[in-house]
């Protein structure tokens, strides 16, 4: 708890600096990531983040110590080479893009590991810092690092905001972008540069192995809350910053704990919560809507069957007869009978279930929609009368009063469906 207060009061300038750094890099990663995610290239970010490792190691070899300028330069170069390699191999061979991404990712990472272990063998004391580039260590950020990574992240953010409209167009409609005269190729090059830069800014705090998560997961979570790019961007940024700070705090509070994995844990938690509980697209609300719809279908069918008995002047149905009509759904049917009774749509008289006047109106509506749709299919689509029932069976639950009015008008207020059954109206008996 003391740690918690100490960390979040930012009284320690080092803590404030770490938080500032991780906030900036989370923002830039989430923003770039949102565009790559929507462009369906999420895994490219994974490849680049693995591919910066050889660059980091080479920078160590040249500079002989942990120097942020060299590291950023080295990481940037191998990251850029890897994106170019992916593009070149996909273009010049018959290999599929995901195979190419996997191959480039693993080969670059292999080269990185080869250099990394070679550096370890030489046993340089300054190498203790090199380890941090694998899984990240936000706490090891010093002022000089913040200047380099922070300014780079800021640059990425500003570039994305300046070219927001262009990037949006290229992702959603590249053909149109080309036709209105945008320099698509150059903009794509710029975007790839920003992507590599965003990865590079994250390597010290998050690490090369898990940097991809900060690009992929925030937009994946944000996508479930909105269909609008601006809101998705904003949410992705918020999610990324929250998890970035959470990861930094944990590696501050627990000694020797790498930052990267905890950032990933936090962002994954937000993502899974979004997948399940998000407003319209979450699993839970989808499941709820589906259940509601199925219940409505069942209720409509129940009312319809009662109406049809009445229409044929057959003997009224008892509870047992109705249960028989819907085999395998006895439990739901019973529940609906009591529910409809409570709503005053049906009543039970001497063991027979009958529609009340309100129930009759509702039942008529369902039957009317069914028959109107059958007639519509027969007249406008020239379907044979024996082909229209199944489709109408679905549409009867979906037609709104507005559509009903239109349908009625275009069919000229018909009285009979294609099977010569009467189309029931409210004022009929």
């Amino acid at each position: 708890m003391e740690d918690f207060v100490y960390f979040f009061s930012f009284q320690d300038p080092n803590v404030a600096m770490v938080v500032a750094g991780i906030t900036l890099l989370s923002i830039s990663a989430a923003m770039v990531g949102t565009f790559t995610f929507l462009d369906k290239k999420a895994l490219l970010g994974d490849a680049i983040s693995h591919a910066v490792l050889p660059g980091v190691c080479l920078a160590f070899m040249f500079a002989g110590s942990k120097n942020p300028y060299w590291i950023v330069l080295g990481a940037f170069i191998t990251g850029a080479v890897s994106t170019y390699a992916i593009e070149w191999i996909s273009r010049s061979t018959k290999l599929k893009e995901d195979t190419v991404i996997a191959a480039v990712l693993s080969v670059f990472f292999g080269i990185g590991i080869l250099l990394f272990t070679q550096l370890q063998q030489t046993g340089d004391a300054a190498l203790s810092g090199l380890d941090h580039f694998l899984f990240g260590n936000a706490i090891s950020i010093v002022y000089e690092d913040l200047m380099v990574y922070g300014i780079l992240a800021l640059l990425v953010i500003v570039c994305l905001l300046v070219f927001y409209k262009e990037f949006k167009l290229i992702i959603f409609n590249p053909g149109y972008a080309q036709s209105v005269g945008l320099p698509v190729k150059r903009l794509k090059l710029l975007f790839n540069t920003l992507l590599v830069m965003a990865v590079v800014t994250g390597i010290q705090a998050i690490g090369v192995v898990l940097m991809a998560a900060l690009l992929i997961t925030p937009p994946a979570a944000a996508r479930f809350w909105s269909d609008r790019l601006k809101i998705i961007l904003l949410l992705a940024v918020i999610f990324a910053v929250l998890s970035g700070i959470a990861g930094a705090y944990i590696s501050f509070a627990v000694p020797h704990m790498p930052t990267g994995p905890w950032v990933v844990m936090a962002i994954s938690f937000i993502a899974f919560a979004s997948f399940f509980f998000a407003g319209k697209k979450g699993i839970l609300s989808k499941w709820y809507n589906q259940r509601n719809y199925q219940q409505k279908i069942h209720r409509d069918h129940l009312l319809k069957s009662l109406y049809q008995v009445r229409e044929r002047n057959a003997a009224p149905l008892g509870k047992a007869d109705i249960l028989e009509l819907f085999p395998g759904k006895e439990k739901e049917t019973k529940r609906f009978i009591s529910k409809l009774k409570k709503e005053g749509q049906i009543e039970e008289k001497s063991n027979h279930l009958l529609l009340t006047p309100t129930g009759l109106v509702e039942a008529k509506r369902v039957v009317r929609l069914h028959r109107l749709w059958e007639l519509y299919l027969a007249q406008y689509l020239n379907l044979a009368p024996d082909h229209v029932h199944d489709m109408a069976e679905k549409m009867e639950h979906l037609l709104t009063p507005e559509l009903e009015a239109k349908l009625d008008a275009s069919l000229d207020y018909p009285t009979q469906d294609p099977h010569h059954s009467k189309i029931p109206r409210d004022h009929d008996l």
Partner: protein
């Protein structure tokens, strides 16, 4: 050059691992599932760590089961996210494996000191120590390096699997609809392949680590795929490239004093590069060889 038994053992183990990975990887890339291989190789980590922690031993069936379960779980989560949750496929893969891998790394850090596993081992394995880690029976007979035996068992099982399922794998890889129509259970074949990939990843884990296994899964088959058009030559070529990767990789690592697994991945990349250049140059010379009829030129 004199015969170095240690080098021989390491190259042999590396070759066996490269063959197991390459054979399964061939089918992965034919099914456009290379990144699923990436996901599985990351995702087995928590399974390995937990099984290691609870069984208390490095070898043994517990780790293989633990990791195998995690590998299959990862494919199920990815499938669930992309079909039920309707998250786009690449993001489903990315979200799932980074999450599972992060859990694995956290577990390793938490259990540090209690288990003999560290982050380095996860990243690039310890193939160089193979000759030191021997199986010794009760009456002191030395049966050879433990990791070599694991690799031998793995390669035998992979060969049996590919041998028995060859027709099924081939058909479901090239024409899934047709395979389904004639009554193959594509779901089961897919899951069995994922299971084999998980098992091979774990079995190779000690030697090459969780991430570099991907290089052996994807790169030699991709190289072979560029060079040939038929499945059988592709598999044979994959085996040959696997052997060469192990051989050259060992000497490269020896020469610059680095990780052998890293060197193998680098060398496999070189072979891929050579194959791409070869094909590109060949294409160009074929292009030049065509003599355009005069009337078409105009």
């Amino acid at each position: 050059m004199t015969f170095d038994p240690n080098a021989f053992l390491i190259i042999l183990t590396g070759t066996l691992i490269a063959i197991s990975c390459g054979l399964l990887g061939s089918f992965l890339i034919l099914r456009n599932m290379a990144m699923i291989g990436d996901a599985i190789s990351h995702a087995v980590l928590p399974g390995i760590v937990l099984a290691f922690f609870f069984s208390g031993q490095r070898e043994g069936i517990a780790i293989i089961i633990g990791a195998g379960l995690l590998g299959i779980l990862a494919t199920i989560i990815i499938d669930y996210l992309s079909t039920k949750v309707k998250l786009q496929n690449d993001a489903s893969i990315g979200v799932t494996f980074t999450w599972l891998f992060a859990i694995g790394i956290i577990l390793i850090t938490v259990f540090a000191g209690q288990i003999d596993l560290d982050q380095d081992c996860v990243l690039y394995g310890e193939i160089a120590y193979i000759p030191l880690d021997l199986i010794v029976t009760e009456n002191n007979t030395i049966l050879g390096p433990r990791v070599l035996w694991i690799a031998v068992i793995n390669v035998i099982l992979v060969l049996l699997y590919v041998g028995f399922m060859y027709k099924e794998l081939k058909l479901t890889s090239f024409d899934k609809q047709f395979a389904q129509t004639i009554g193959f259970s594509t779901g089961f074949i897919n899951l069995s392949l994922m299971g084999m990939v998980s098992y091979t990843t774990v079995s190779s884990f000690e030697a090459v680590g969780a991430i570099l296994v991907l290089a052996l899964l994807v790169v030699p088959p991709a190289t072979a795929y560029i060079l040939t058009k038929k499945l059988k030559p592709m598999l044979l070529l994959t085996i040959l490239i696997g052997f060469l990767t192990s051989l050259v990789g060992y000497y490269l690592a020896y020469f610059i004093d680095g990780s052998i697994a890293g060197a193998m991945a680098s060398v496999s990349g070189l072979f891929l590069l050579a194959a791409i250049l070869y094909v590109t140059i060949q294409k160009r010379s074929i292009g030049k060889g065509i003599i355009m009829p005069a009337e078409l030129k105009r």
